[in-house]
């Protein structure tokens, strides 16, 4: 794909401010350089204004902050651990590798940070119903969890094809009291689930909060979702300083919409000596057309309310993404990542399905931790970064990488068993795995 460069003057201005020593932390939106904004129907602008206002007030309300902190501690299980992965690190050029254990949170991933925060805001706005989109079901399960905890009605939009492949996650959401609506429009994938959630929101905005699952969408969602995930980076920075007495050389995270990555990056944004790496889903390979490497190969455009990098054709039609990891299988990316990429503060690289699955198996066998396939993209990236660091001057054992282990892999066992051909031909699981079911 070739691209005509779009006007980037705003980004250049922000880049200059950054180069002049300005802080990148706590960017409020609506714009991140040339990205972000509100490319939304007028009908929803009042709701976005109300949400922004509620969020801004909540951030300076000690009662709200105490509620979030209490839920983080007593419900999600925060702070999550920082675990040194010594045997895994032997494969990363011998540098030290630490895992930020978001997989140990309640519901098994970082997603809980955002859903609890947004569900609390929904209650503050007097809304009685939340809606959410989900791909594989992780954000849907997290949303259903928060809704159950806080007594909110919950409706989850999920592509019909995903519902079939993820029948157990559909059951999970139903067990938690949510209604799951299969989406049969368009390509029947995550982006179409977002479209249908937006259609629901337009019609029911008086009673309903749209609990968007990633740091994308219209303002204030990117800044707000990041805010609820900033705890990841803050904890990680404190923990690595306490464990090693210094900041890491690199921080690695996987990127779909980019919420776990922006959460951990945020803690290190102003530590210029810390390199930040986002690993996108390279699918079958970025030269095959079957991937979700939005920043690597996408072009600026608007989708779902924000201007950002986007997988689109020459007509501006969204191109379907492909990844073995449903959580990264999205043709857009959060606008703050687009900005960080343009100014060079963070680097974004693709990881293929095969590379991710090798790292997945390696972590299982060296550390006794089964990662989410999403997080395995960050692990595969860390192996590469570690080898690069080891090739530079200095003792590799003095170099440090922090990887955001954004989720656990229980949901991915059938996919992995199929990938590694671990299932007997005649087992029920083999049949399920062949259809991409994630247990």
């Amino acid at each position: 794909m070739t691209d005509t460069p779009q006007p980037q003057s705003v980004t250049e201005g922000a880049a200059e401010a950054f180069l002049a020593g300005g802080s990148l932390r706590h960017a409020q939106g609506p714009y991140f350089g040339a990205y972000g904004g509100r490319w939304m129907p007028e009908s929803l602008i009042a709701a976005l204004d109300e949400l922004e206002d509620t969020f801004e007030k909540a951030k300076s309300d000690p009662e709200f902050l105490a509620q979030v902190a209490e839920l983080n501690r007593t419900y999600s299980g925060r702070p999550s651990l920082l675990t040194e992965a010594r045997r895994f690190a032997e494969h990363a050029g011998g540098v030290r590798v630490f895992l930020k254990r978001e997989d140990l949170n309640h519901t098994g991933s970082h997603k809980i940070n955002n859903v609890l925060g947004q569900a609390l805001l929904a209650k503050r706005m007097g809304k009685t119903r939340v809606i959410a989109e989900t791909g594989a079901g992780q954000h849907g399960v997290a949303s259903a969890t928060a809704a159950a905890l806080l007594g909110l009605e919950c409706v989850v939009y999920m592509g019909a094809e995903d519902c079939r492949r993820q029948a157990l996650n559909v059951a999970r959401m139903q067990l938690l009291g949510a209604e799951v609506i299969p989406v049969t429009n368009g390509s029947q994938t995550l982006k179409d689930a977002i479209n249908d959630a937006l259609r629901d929101w337009v019609a029911n905005v008086q009673t309903t909060h749209y609990l968007l699952g990633t740091a994308a969408g219209a303002h204030p969602f990117p800044a707000m979702v990041r805010y609820f995930h900033e705890v990841i980076g803050e904890e990680a920075r404190e923990q690595i300083l306490s464990a090693t007495g210094r900041l890491p050389d690199a921080v690695c995270a996987c990127i779909g919409g980019g919420s776990n990555a922006i959460g951990i990056f945020h803690g290190f944004l102003d530590d210029r000596e810390v390199a930040l790496y986002g690993f996108e889903a390279g699918g079958d390979g970025v030269d095959t057309g079957r991937h979700a490497a939005t920043i690597t190969l996408g072009r600026p455009g608007v989708l779902h309310g924000a201007r950002s990098y986007l997988m689109q054709d020459d007509d501006g039609q969204t191109i379907e993404s492909h990844s073995i990891s449903a959580g990264l299988d999205y043709p857009g990316v959060g606008p703050e990542h687009a900005f960080l990429a343009d100014i060079g503060r963070a680097s974004y690289e693709p990881i293929t399905d095969a590379e991710a699955m090798e790292a997945f198996r390696l972590l299982c066998r060296t550390e006794g931790i089964i990662p989410a396939i999403e997080s395995a993209h960050a692990l595969a990236g860390a192996l590469k970064v570690g080898q690069r660091l080891a090739a530079e001057p200095g003792d590799p054992a003095e170099k440090i990488i922090v990887v955001n282990l954004s989720g656990r892999g229980d949901k991915d066992v059938a996919t992995a068993a199929e990938w590694f051909d671990l299932l007997p031909e005649d087992s029920a699981e083999a049949e399920i795995g062949a259809e991409g079911e994630q247990l």
């Binding site: 490319w39 007028e42 709701a47 479209n195 501006g316």
Partner: protein
């Protein structure tokens, strides 16, 4: 912006007003089922009482559209519609009728082509301007400048949820007419038109809009009559798309004719 001469959309609405009628706006998506049928159906609408033609660009993620229009646009894309063909459609209609022809489009296809190039080609094809369901004036700096340069109408939407401040800024940014969304929802025929529409139109007029047209849910001559009592125009989409789907160009002509019986102001 020039106020000496009326823009194409404004002129079409004022022509209807001078004849004692509510302006009738008819929507069809381009390329459904093919480009030639779109042109023929649009011309049939113009010959049967439709004052302004609204042609939609099929888009992969139409968040403001209900099932009928989505299915039509998916089929148009499946049949190979490309964005550049919109100019052929517009030119095909303007060469055969006097109706004002507006293009309804989500913003990404315009951004992809380049706002200026898009506007220049639309003007060249004889188009009146754009209706932009997911572009608010706050994000429209480039479009405001380019539409001035080419004398194109810019039809923004206002909704029951629009604050007085937003109503004012949107009306101020608009040229041609204000698109008053009748309900909080998406496109689709409904059995009755929400009473909220009357208030949205009144608020638009108070904010200085000379022309406000009501859309979403309008499907019968009775709706047209009812809305005509307070609005300057009515917009019919889904019902016409369903007619084209089920009965072809003839059915579109028949429905347009029937809808137009609701336009005389009582």
């Amino acid at each position: 912006m020039s106020t000496e001469t009326l823009s194409k959309s404004a002129a079409a609405i004022e022509r209807a007003r001078a004849q004692g009628r509510t302006a009738l706006v008819g929507y069809l998506p381009a390329g459904f089922p093919d480009v030639q049928t779109t042109i023929d159906a649009a011309v049939a609408m113009a010959e049967n009482g439709v004052d302004l033609i609204e042609i939609g660009i099929p888009y992969s993620d139409p968040v403001m559209d209900g099932t009928v229009i989505q299915e039509a646009t998916v089929e148009a894309l499946r049949n190979g519609f490309t964005v550049r063909q919109i100019f052929d459609v517009v030119a095909g209609i303007t060469s055969r009728t006097d109706a004002a022809v507006l293009v309804m489009t989500y913003w990404n296809p315009v951004m992809r082509m380049g706002v200026r190039e898009f506007a220049s080609r639309l003007a060249e094809a004889g188009g009146a301007g754009l209706i932009t369901p997911d572009l608010i004036p706050d994000e429209a700096a480039e479009w405001l400048a380019v539409s001035d340069e080419f004398g194109l109408d810019r039809v923004f939407l206002v909704a029951p949820s629009s604050s007085p401040e937003r109503m004012q800024s949107t009306v101020d940014a608009t040229r041609g007419f204000v698109y008053a969304v009748s309900i909080m929802g998406i496109t689709g025929a409904r059995s009755s038109v929400s009473s909220a529409a009357r208030e949205v139109v009144a608020a638009a007029h108070r904010a200085g809009a000379e022309r406000a047209c009501v859309g979403l849910g309008v499907s019968t001559a009775e709706h047209v009559r009812e809305i005509g009592a307070y609005a300057d125009g009515v917009i019919v989409g889904t019902a016409l798309v369903a007619a084209l789907r089920d009965g072809g160009v003839e059915a579109v002509a028949a429905l347009a004719k029937d809808l137009s019986t609701g336009t005389p102001k009582g």
